[in-house]
Symmetry: C2
Subunit: 404 residues, 2 copies
């Protein structure tokens, strides 16, 4: 089981803060198999598998509760928000289709037709996603059940659902009113819709001069990031509440943090707020990048605490919280030999690049971007042992249903 | 008003017969404006504009008749099949949304929410299409009407509908049952799902040895092409009948021919069955391409007669024919100076390349493909006057509704 960050860059990516490739973590773990054997990775892969199974269990629990509540329509619609280019999204959709079909079957009803929407920003590489889709299962009577009964192999060889791609931001409306039975969004909601304006405004007390992320920033900066996250999540919930069918459900997972302090971003802080920060400072001191250039760069990511997340859901009021937990996840660093400092350094640079490379290149160009990640690699290698020990993510995992 | 073929090649095109870029004609005329003044094009642009307006009128008539029949739901769904990378499709969708909104308004009802599906093969460049989409109009009460009232400029600046891309072949199922109000497909249905098998089988009496298109081919070849077209259209209609909502409608336009003889393909015949054919023969005689290589290449396009089209719709039986006409269209050749033989030759080669270039390159490679189109350009230049006079398309235009 690999710990890889699954973010991919499309060929035609239009660069903007909101268009950055998504951080993907659990989802990629969930659908990857094999690897180089137990203990070959930085963290214990068995512990990882446990976490992954636990989160998958949450999703299934969400679906089961929904099937208890809802009537059995002839059409079941699902939407995965922040689908990226695909394989993780396809795995989650397979879980949904299988579980819902089983629920229909256990009530002695014919399985519904499924329609699945894969949504992401217009800059996402939908072409790759669409070419990953297996061919549609011929809608012959009984064949859906046969396919599901045949297990995973068959389920990925054909596709027992109608598929569609939906370009747009999930911080606004994406679907007609009351049209979706189940929403999922895994590892996208920690991406803010934008860097908070005050944070880039040198006249503001929340100006994040000198720093490139909220981690270890001032109280005013931290408050601005928190406000942005909560405003974005509120807009997300307001749109979904309009789009969800009566009896529908939503499964959300995103980066989270265990600390109450917004300026202590945990794993995300270690990723963007320490050696990555120092690498920027290196470039400024070497005269490669001007100080103002660094000051105007900020990573639009925020790992919320459970409380911050819960407050937004409650204030919105449209959804009941069926489950809300902070789950300890793994490390984004993929290494075969955790004792090899050079390899750890490379893994750290690669992880950062996979997530923030597009943003960095758009801000200072590819050439200086490459220099930045070289500095990062060198610095991370010098702190390899500490990174191996301390680098891991927490995830907010949340199951919601429309409040009665 | 330009006569350009609007086919575009996506960057990640997976080549297969069915994945060839679509022939686009009317749709591009409909949404193009300006040009280099009256009479600057090969054909009289005013006559073209008349044809275009007439076909647009058919679409509006189809919509009006549908609005008479159907109840006013809160959600109106449209699907454009064979959307290619977009601008033509976006224009047609704008017409639909505007017309349907006006119909609701004239009955004193609130405009519905619109959901529009853009469908094409998985190899289509959906990324380009999605980046052409204007941003979603904020669903504020009254703003849809304001937008529509503001006319074309506003309608293209924002998007008063939810959009989704659907990858798949329209010769099979694409959507859930009874989920679409109106289908459109413009200039795609003349693409066969495949070259008829017999045509590529040297042991068959319908083997098309020596030729690369059905035009001027043997009776057996012509019959095989005709069978393939009719079988494909039947599969198209069967799927749409399942997917269309009660009271729904369908507007179809594709290449057609005025001759009763399937081996006389009219404009398509002139495009693929004369100088293009001779250019292949040149390469064979020069030893650049082996005879068998040419013999195994066939263009999977078929321009049906009205009667052939009508027979399939009647045999299927699910749809009533509200209108079925053969409309004289324009020429695919874009030239500023019709007297300039070299320019006419270039235009002919470009038109052929835009439609069949991907297929040719997949069959004999890019280098020899370029040689083929060079020969074509030279030959077409020698027959420039004849091409200017005789090259024009006919279009089958068809409006269908679910039979009661």
């Amino acid at each position: 089981m690999t710990m890889a960050m699954a973010s991919m860059k499309g060929e035609n990516v239009t660069v903007s803060a909101a268009a950055a490739p998504r951080m993907k973590k659990l989802a990629s773990m969930l659908c990857m198999k094999g690897g180089n054997g137990d203990g070959s990775y930085l963290n214990n892969s068995q512990a990882q598998a446990l976490h992954a199974r636990r989160m998958l269990h949450f999703l299934e629990e969400t679906l089961d509760a929904m099937m208890e509540r809802s009537s059995s329509d002839k059409l079941f619609t699902a939407a995965d928000l922040g689908c990226s280019c695909g394989s993780n999204s396809l795995f989650i959709v397979d879980v949904i289709v299988r579980r819902v079909s089983e629920a229909y079957e256990s009530r002695g009803r014919d399985a519904p037709e499924f329609q699945v929407f894969f949504s992401d920003l217009p800059s996402n590489d939908f072409n790759t996603l669409f070419q990953l889709l297996p061919p549609l299962l011929a809608p012959v009577a009984g064949s859906l059940e046969e396919c599901l009964a045949a297990g995973e192999g068959a389920a990925t060889a054909t596709r027992p659902y109608h598929a569609a791609g939906v370009p747009g931001t999930f911080y606004g409306r994406l679907f007609p009113g009351e049209s979706i039975d189940v929403f999922t969004s895994t590892f996208s909601l920690h991406w803010l819709s934008q860097v908070p304006e005050e944070v880039g405004d040198s006249a503001s007390p929340a100006y994040n001069g000198g720093r490139v992320f909220v981690h270890r920033a001032t109280e005013a900066v931290a408050a601005a990031y928190k406000r942005q996250f909560q405003a974005d999540l509120a807009r997300f919930l307001r749109s979904r509440a309009r789009e969800m069918k009566r009896g529908g459900a939503m499964f959300l997972a995103c980066l989270g943090r265990s600390s109450g302090d917004p300026a202590d971003q945990g794993g995300a802080g270690l990723l963007f707020g320490t050696h990555f920060q120092d690498a920027w400072d290196d470039l400024v001191q070497e005269g490669v990048v001007e100080g103002e250039k660094r000051d105007s760069f900020n990573i639009p990511v925020y790992a919320p605490s459970l409380q911050e997340f819960r407050d937004v859901v409650r204030a919105d009021g449209a959804f009941a919280i069926d489950r809300l937990e902070l789950v300890r996840g793994g490390s984004p660093l993929v290494v075969d030999r955790p004792d090899d400092a050079a390899e750890v350094g490379r893994a750290m640079a690669n992880s950062c690049k996979a997530v923030a490379g597009v943003l960095v290149d758009a801000h200072i160009g590819e050439r200086r971007g490459a220099q930045l990640f070289e500095r990062l690699e060198r610095r991370a290698a010098r702190h390899a042992r500490e990174l191996v020990e301390k680098m891991h993510f927490f995830h907010v995992v949340c199951s919601l249903s429309l409040a009665p």
